[in-house]
């Protein structure tokens, strides 16, 4: 085996997310485990949403990167539980999102019992351009399952946010 200069975790974690390419899968919190054995490595990832079409590309890219880094046998597995939450996006990930003009998600509050119905607009996202909290949500679904659309009243610019889930 070619000696690997960096740990398998670091190689896998550096894989960019196809739909939010400013983030790595490490930033996004969908990389769940990397188990290194002899010259084999088993990577476990989790989908953000059930229908996320990027899972196949992510697993192919993770496998390719690990092979380039010297691992001959690479296996990528899926884990469904526990379900991904936007709370798993790292502090670094949130910073990169804001820098790219996408508002990071607000923390998710989970209570026990039935999920309450929300008839009012969700809490306003902070504008990633001017920092104003005077924003409105224009659509709770955006270009991908994980994003919503907003408009800032202060700078008049539209922006996207990663949905709290």
């Amino acid at each position: 085996m070619v000696s690997a200069p960096v740990a398998a975790w670091d190689v896998a974690a550096a894989t960019p997310d196809p739909e939010l390419p400013m983030l790595t899968i490490g930033d996004l919190g969908i990389l769940r485990a990397v188990d290194e054995m002899a010259d084999q490595v088993v990577v476990t990832i989790t989908p953000t949403y059930s229908g996320c079409p990027a899972m196949r590309e992510i697993s192919a890219d993770v496998e390719r990167r690990l092979r380039l880094a010297g691992w001959r046998a690479v296996e990528v597995r899926t884990a469904l539980a526990p379900a991904w939450s936007s709370d798993w996006i790292t502090v670094e990930g949130s910073r990169k999102l804001a820098e790219a003009g996408v508002a990071p998600p607000s923390p998710v509050r989970r209570a026990h019992g039935p999920v309450p119905l929300t008839l009012d607009p969700r809490p306003a996202a902070t504008c990633p351009r001017c920092g104003s909290a005077e924003t409105t949500e224009t659509a709770s679904f955006g270009a991908t399952a994980c994003r919503s659309l907003h408009r800032c009243a202060a700078c008049d610019e539209p922006f996207e946010a990663v949905k709290p889930i």
């Binding site: 894989t15 960019p16 997310d17 196809p18 390419p21 476990t44 989908p47 949403y49 059930s50 229908g51 996320c52 079409p53 899972m55 196949r56 590309e57 697993s59 192919a60 890219d61 390719r64 990167r65 380039l68 296996e75 990528v76 597995r77 899926t78 884990a79 469904l80 539980a81 526990p82 379900a83 991904w84 939450s85 039935p114 999920v115 119905l117 929300t118 008839l119 224009t138 659509a139 709770s140 679904f141 955006g142 270009a143 991908t144 399952a145 659309l149 949905k163 889930i165």
Partner: protein, 282 residues
Amino acid sequence: MTENPYGWLADEHTDDHRWAFGTGFTDPLAGIDTTVPAGLDAGALATFCLALGDDALVYSHRLQEWMTRMPELEEETAIANIALDLLGQARMLLARAGAIVGKSEDELAFFRHEHEFRNVRLVEPSDHDFAELVGRLLVFATWRLALFERLAEHADPVLAAIGAKGVNELTYHRDYAAQWVVRLGDGTELSRQRMQTALVNLWPYLDELFRPHDVDLVTIQRGEVDVVLDTVFATAGLERPDVPARALVGGRAGRDGVHTEALGYLVAELQSVARAHPDATW
């Protein structure tokens, strides 16, 4: 190494890796242990997963039919995303059933006949208008969310994981639909009237959702769903319809494979490409 994560896929045509979404779908449960835990009836688990999977598969197809026809771009992306979430749920549930009965998700989706589908009849008819779209979505998402909250506690860890994941998605679907029902119900006289008519059209299909059936491995009380719907209707100024349930056929309905005439056309379109090219991968 290119920074565009799709770039290398376009250049590197091997058997394994082609352009995004190119050569066939991988098993959505790849690497997940699908052994049925001891003490559970595997056949019953497969049938239940198939029923819940068919609800999502058929309804996702109906929602996809709205694409390019929505009143605004924001609603188009919303319905596309909701349809995609449901398709994802369908894929996992069909794969979960398939792992037990020895079939792939594609075989189950594309090579079963109409009477082998186990979905409820609520998801079969086309929507007459946008009011009916959001009304049906409200009923479906509210019912399914209650079911999935219960699924999350199921003894099969795979089904429980699918349930827990779906709860997060269905919460968004229900809120989206509820907010539109309120906006139309509490809007103009015309929008209120059309929203009320839509509810009357949907209501005959509600009883079936709560009819006890051998297929069910979890049950919910109708009251759990009613309390949510009543909140929405009260806010919207709408009345809960009082119309008779759609008749069963010899005591049977969607869960027994007895469907409305609408399903045959839907299944024919859904399966046409796969049946024309049964060995193709895409």
